[in-house]
Symmetry: C2
Subunit: 248 residues, 2 copies
DNA sequence: CAGTGGTCTAGACCACCTA
DNA sequence: AGGTGGTCTAGACCACTGA
């Protein structure tokens, strides 16, 4: 079961076996996961490693610990998490088929505003990419993106109707989007957007201003996503609320 | 510096000393934190404990690790995090003075719908609490809340204009809100809400459907919060994007 | 009481980065 | 080479839970 020669850490492998067990229905929501000591013994690892494995599930909101009692599976997550991840990944998790129509894709020089958001110098190369996004053929969002080409030279020649932006970034450049930040507001839909999204002229839209960063906190892209207010609610996922360090 | 007799874990104490150092300007954004080995030596603890301390800062999005290089302070967060936390805590973090006007506060029996959301039996005791929320005297939200009285018997007699709901829950009942889940949509403001929030009749509002849970995932409350679309954007904080376990 | 998670030790080896 | 974080060991004691 556990391969010690693998480049995948042991605790991830153990977390995966527990995940598989869950997905195959071996553990019902509310029921206990194997205890840390049991996992440690079963896989011949130290308890610290077993604990680290369970931590991976807890971090994802899939399980919760109760001191003295055990670690338990949370209720099923219809939709996993989102609001901060990319459109394609979001749809993938919702089991919907993503699609895109590129409205414009062109190289440009960063304005002062865009430069500030991408933390590059004014005039630096930026890819402007506007797309309509589809889920199972239905339009569900309009995205206006500015992508940091200083970090990703040559990205502008790719075809983003056929492939996911993040897939290209990861595979061609080895750059991994690791941090995200978003601010969300509501406004009345603009006429052009209403047409693209098949909405009435006086309906409301959600606008998410999102920035994605590398592991080292370099901005990869700055995107404004426009969603129909009611057809496609943003799910903020299940999160652990952390106590303030100061208050302890 | 470190008190080994304290009921506060050593790694939390160390995290606090690092935090203080940061807040006093000892470390600038982008600069490295003390290394794990250095912290361990300085406080005479094992490296695992020092690492656990730094983990607390990383979990909060205050620092990020770079393999082989070090752990670095993130850029300052103007607004800390939110969308999932309570109104009072959110304003506290934004340095605004919270206020409330109670629209209605009454004991009622859970309808089938409310019962489902609070995971209680239909007909169980529920506190309905509708409030206008103020920040520095300005109305910034309308909240319609259903609170699980099965978990918090007697809560209905408290005065929620004078004190925070969560403060009462923590102090009187020892119940700690630990998990949160939210879904966000946009719609046109309703006439009554427009009046309360000083908005025009055709403006858009953000509606957050939020549930808060105990450590053991028992629902504490289910709240619909209505925010003016543009005056009070929701900040989703800075979060680490976790890779899928399956894809590893 | 036994079983659970929470914290902690004193090491170890690895992979990665910079000089 | 020497520093960093990433992973791992084989224990330990504590606090909490439930029978």
């Amino acid at each position: 079961m556990i391969n010690r020669q693998s480049f995948i850490p042991i605790y991830i492998q153990i977390a995966q076996t527990v995940m598989q067990n869950i997905q195959q229905g071996g553990i019902a929501p509310g029921e206990p996961l194997p205890s840390e000591r049991e996992l440690a013994e079963r896989h011949h690892v130290s308890r610290v490693t077993a604990r680290q494995a369970i931590d991976e599930l807890v971090k994802r909101g899939m399980a919760y610990r109760l001191h003295g009692k055990g670690t338990f599976l949370t209720q099923p997550k219809i939709r996993q998490a989102s609001g901060l991840i990319s459109f394609s990944e979001e749809l993938r998790q919702r089991q919907l088929r993503p699609g895109s129509r590129v409205l414009q894709q062109r190289l440009m020089q960063a304005s002062a505003d865009v430069a500030a958001r991408l933390q590059v110098e004014a005039g630096a190369s930026v890819l402007r990419l506007d797309r309509i996004r589809y889920a199972n053929q239905q339009p569900v969002a309009v995205e206006y993106a500015h992508i940091n080409l200083t970090l990703l030279p040559g990205l502008d020649t790719e075809d983003f109707e056929a492939q996911s932006l993040f897939d290209v970034i990861r595979q061609r450049y080895g750059v991994y989007p690791t941090w995200a930040e978003a601010e969300i507001e509501a406004r009345i839909v603009q006429p052009q957007e209403a047409e693209w999204l098949h909405m009435g002229a006086t309906e409301a839209v959600l606008v998410a201003h999102r920035r994605t960063f590398t592991e080292a906190f370099e901005p990869i892209e700055s995107v404004d996503s426009v969603y129909p207010g009611d057809r496609f609610p943003l799910y903020m996922g299940r999160q652990r609320v952390l106590a303030n360090l100061e208050e302890t």
